[in-house]
């Protein structure tokens, strides 16, 4: 960390708000996410000047304009590439990437994958609303089969991508899920920030104009306990007020739901959440909602060395003991001197 970040300075939510008029549709889930982020920032001990929000194109990508930090609203799908160059230029910066299901998984899927596999230290917030908003409602790579939209009047036929499974498959060392209006979202963001490396957060976001309430089946407050599994490190995977849990079917090697009687989750074989268990993480991201509750919170968190740290280390090692004398570099290789008497080696 550089000097600026080590200066203890308290900020409040107000310090992270810009004077710019927010231009999302009234009622858009993005408002709630913006507030959650602005509320989280003072608690994670960083400063506005050392923070950069980098985004691509789409509704979500307007985000940087509303954060009183440095911000770069780039081009469609490429935010991870800009973030990579920026972080390598200044590894001390705290970088947040804001993207959407179209920006991050369709046009920019390639960059998302490579940023994750390289493990650049940053937070990736992927706002998943399962629709293209800014271009007026076409189906997206996360839209469910049968989604009718201006470009799919008879319903979409292609199978949707699963953002969290995609991230884990790309080699992510941190995968989390939340949703726009959840009061748990700041905790998820804090955990993502605390993770050193690429932290991928899928945030379900309600597009009230083109895909209204598409997540109501699990996000609606009423009955939420039955449909949401909030994962907590070291705690059993129980939900529905402790009456149900997630267990491993050891024969078939997949997860199953079990009834928990009288709170005795051990007897029901409920698994204790270990955020470093990659095998279980693979099963959690694949857990189909309906048959299972929606797995939310930190699904996986197991850091390993980051890309920019390795680059810096290699640059230093390669430069060690060498002097950066460009004049002598120009003279390197096959040279000869021309004198009055002719050329010589």
């Amino acid at each position: 960390m550089n000097e600026m970040t080590t200066i203890a300075r308290t900020t409040t939510l107000k310090d992270w708000e810009t004077d710019q008029e927010v231009r999302w549709c009234p009622g858009c889930g993005d408002y709630a996410i913006l507030k959650a982020v602005q509320r989280t920032m003072p608690e994670i001990g960083t400063t506005p000047e050392n923070t950069v929000f980098v985004s691509g194109i789409g509704c979500s990508s307007r985000f940087p304009y509303y954060m009183e930090t440095y911000g770069f609203h780039t081009i469609h799908g490429r935010a991870p590439a800009f973030a990579t160059g920026l972080k390598l230029a200044n590894p001390d910066l705290d970088i947040w990437i804001v993207t959407g299901d179209g920006d991050g998984l369709s046009i920019g899927g390639n960059h998302t994958m490579h940023l994750i596999r390289r493990n650049l230290d940053c937070q990736i917030m992927l706002f998943n609303n399962e629709i293209y908003g800014l271009t007026k409602g076409q189906y997206s790579p996360t839209s469910r089969v049968g989604t009718t939209s201006p470009s799919t009047p008879y319903g979409s036929v292609d199978r949707p991508a699963q953002p969290a499974a995609f991230a884990l498959g790309a080699g992510a060392r941190f995968v989390a899920r939340g949703f726009d209006v959840s009061k748990e979202l700041p905790n998820v963001l804090k955990a993502a920030h605390a993770h050193k490396g690429a932290a991928f957060i899928e945030i379900f976001q309600n597009c009230i104009v083109y895909n209204k309430d598409v997540f109501e089946d699990f996000a609606a407050p009423k009955g939420a306990e039955d449909r949401q599994l909030w994962l907590k490190q070291g705690e059993p995977m129980i939900y529905a007020k402790g009456t149900k849990g997630i267990a491993l079917d050891a024969e078939a090697l997949h997860l199953k739901t079990v009834d928990v009687v009288d709170g005795d989750w051990q007897a029901a074989g409920v698994i204790v959440h270990d955020v470093t268990n990659r095998s279980v993480a693979h099963m959690l991201v694949e857990m189909r909602f309906g048959e299972f509750p929606m797995a939310l919170g930190v699904l996986y968190d197991d850091p390993r060395p980051t890309f920019e740290a390795d680059v810096v280390r290699q640059n230093k090692a390669a430069a060690e003991g060498k002097t950066a004398d460009l004049q002598s570099l120009l003279k390197k290789g096959q040279t000869w001197t021309v004198t009055e008497g002719g050329p010589e080696l």
């Binding site: 940087p64 081009i75 160059g85 390598l88 910066l93 960059h111 570099l329 096959q334 001197t337 050329p343």
Partner: protein, 620 residues
């Protein structure tokens, strides 16, 4: 005429009596590029001026003996200034039938063919689509032919070292080089030293290669009496005393970029993606970490430029590099760099197009793409290098413009410059004026304006991490001064005008006349790697008394302020280009001059004779 090697050659075709063109041609696996490279060094040590032209296939390991698997290396060396790799070779070394077939048509009439007859067997003849052996059927009568069983002679020479057949035959190129060294009265010792160093870990291989080299040399000495083979000495060219080295365009660009970054006092970030013929720049820079260079091999061309822009945003000198197809992919990101007014260097090593085109062949057909190839009104400076040495200077110039005007700049070179080598007088870096960047670190009087401007219309460069100067940038139209989002009609008009005025106002040096006079009957206007043939052709025609001048444009955009008046001072203007007339169109558009195109798009550089013919035609 070119040389004493070929006594009866046509004098009119090549008036220079002190230059020789040799072409080494063989199978991709025969080591012709290496042979050519080492012969180049020996030419340098002999004090000759020279220019080279490596001409190799796009396939990495093309099937042996095939026509498309032929790899050639041409060198023109002499005792006066050499500007091109030469038109027609005086000597062709053909290591197999395919090499003979693809290269002999260019050989000067009366020129010398040295052929390895050991490779002219039925199988190889069939692969080269010869019905009869050309070494025996008289079809090569207009040239002098020297048939040697180089394969066998090499095997005999390296026999004592106990190599396998395959390894022994690999020494063929050294045998050939030995013969070439004898032909041009060259010192073998530097090559022997080089071989010993190269094979330090395998002394047997070193000894075998040296033996092959010596055997080839000895063959020349003994065979001289009998055949067409004669020894020829090319005097050293008069060059200024000083330290010289061979330099390829890719090296020139890499070193120039490092020098530019140092002069700007910036760390450099290079984002690249492998593509022929641009990859060599990435390779060179990735070994220069002690010069504060970070290189990043991105996942694609788009990520390469975007990471470079991200690094520029962070306060580094962002650089990216590619060739035509990759440059096309980077177009949208260039627009963002223009909109956000961040410095960026984009190197385009042009190759034959469109689409994948001719990856290993040269062309100048990306000028439209460089000047005009983006969505919206997106003006961007363009600088074009004429030679490997000039690429060093141009790279520094692009960095200067990028940081002094906060703009992306494109540097155009081509496959010919990237791969060709020339002798280069190592410059004294203390003679270059530094242009250190000053970042804005605190709000100036009157408040901080992210899109406020100085007298050059440049906006301030602020590194994220700087307290008190927080702001947001992006690709949406900016409000004047504040940089906030603004879609208002009058604001877009004003911002578009400012972006154009900023680029139009870049100070570039006045155009000079390379050879000839300001005003007259004919100007030959070129850019980029056509410098060599144009310069030689104009020199020759002026020696014949014709009124013709050579103008060579480095600053393609913005064009030098005096260029319009200069062009109008000639009765006629012709523009030779390796495309269908791109600079010609720009000149016509900018100055309403009747510039006439002279075009060649064969993947091969212009010959001097072709430009001479165009001059004669224009002055008819």
């Amino acid at each position: 005429m070119a040389t004493a090697v070929v006594d009866q050659a046509d004098k009119r075709q090549s008036p220079l009596s002190d230059a020789v063109v040799v072409r080494f041609a063989g199978d991709s696996g025969d080591g012709m590029q290496l042979t050519g490279g080492q012969f180049t060094l020996s030419s340098a040590l002999a004090g000759n001026d020279f220019a080279t032209f490596p001409d190799f296939p796009a396939e990495i390991r093309a099937p042996q003996g095939t026509l498309f698997g032929v790899s050639a290396f041409q060198i023109n060396f002499g005792s006066s200034a050499i500007d091109t790799a030469g038109d027609a070779p005086d000597v062709l070394v053909a290591m197999n039938p395919a090499a003979l077939k693809t290269n002999v048509p260019q050989l000067k009439q009366g020129g010398l063919i040295i052929a390895d007859e050991g490779e002219f067997n039925d199988r190889n003849l069939a692969k080269a689509k010869y019905d009869a052996n050309p070494l025996d059927d008289g079809s090569l009568a207009k040239w002098q032919l020297l048939k040697l069983n180089i394969s066998q002679l090499t095997m005999d020479a390296v026999k004592p070292f106990g190599l396998g057949n395959k390894e022994a035959l690999r020494c063929k190129n050294m045998w050939t080089l030995g013969l070439a060294l004898w032909m041009f009265d060259r010192d073998r010792q530097p090559l022997i030293d080089w071989l010993n160093a190269k094979f330090a870990k395998a002394p047997d291989l070193a000894a075998a290669n040296v033996a092959a080299l010596n055997a080839g040399h000895a063959y020349g000495e003994t065979a001289e009496l009998a055949g067409p083979l004669k020894q020829h000495h090319v005097d050293p060219a008069p060059v200024a005393p000083g330290l010289y080295r061979t330099l390829t365009g890719a090296e020139g660009i890499a070193l120039g970029l490092v020098a530019g970054a140092q002069l700007a006092k910036l760390p450099m970030f290079f984002g690249g993606y492998p593509i022929t013929p641009a990859s060599a720049i990435l390779h060179h820079l990735s070994r220069l970490k002690e010069y504060d260079v970070t290189t990043f091999q991105a996942e694609d061309e788009i990520a390469a430029i975007c990471s470079a822009i991200g690094a520029s945003y962070g306060g580094s000198l962002g650089v990216t590099s590619s060739s035509g197809p990759g440059i096309a992919l980077k177009g949208e990101a260039m627009g963002l760099a223009i909109m956000t007014e961040l410095p960026l260097v984009i190197v385009n090593s042009q190759r034959g197009g469109p689409s994948t085109g001719l990856p290993t062949k040269t062309e100048q057909s990306d000028l439209y793409q460089a000047v005009y190839g983006r969505n919206g009104d997106a003006p961007m400076p363009v600088v074009a290098a004429r030679s490997p040495g000039d690429a060093f200077e141009c790279a520094i110039e692009t960095v200067r413009i990028a940081v002094q005007y906060m703009t992306p700049v494109m540097l155009l070179t081509d496959g010919y410059i990237a791969n060709a080598a020339e002798p280069w007088a190592v410059p004294d870096l203390t003679t270059y004026e530094a242009f250190p960047v000053e970042f804005l670190t605190e709000a100036p009087e009157g408040g901080f304006k992210p899109y406020g401007r100085d007298e050059n219309l440049k906006r301030p460069w602020v590194k994220p991490g700087t307290p008190g100067l927080l702001h947001r940038i992006g690709g949406i139209e900016k409000e004047l001064d504040t940089g906030h989002i603004n879609y208002a009609p009058e604001n877009h008009q004003a911002m578009t005008d400012i972006r154009k005025d900023k680029i139009d106002g870049i100070k570039v040096p006045d155009q000079v006349v390379e050879l000839g006079a300001e005003g007259g009957k004919l100007a030959v206007v070129g850019w980029g790697s056509t410098f060599g043939p144009i310069h030689q052709a104009v020199r020759r025609k002026r020696a014949e008394g014709l009124d013709v001048s050579h103008v060579h444009i480095r600053h393609i955009w913005p064009l030098p302020a005096n260029l319009g008046e200069l062009l109008k001072s000639y009765d006629k203007v012709i523009v030779p280009e390796m495309n269908t007339g791109q600079l010609k169109t720009v000149l016509r558009d900018q100055y309403l001059v009747d510039a006439k195109p002279v075009n060649k798009v064969s993947g091969q550089p212009f010959t001097i004779a072709e430009i001479e013919a165009a001059i004669e035609e224009a002055l008819k």
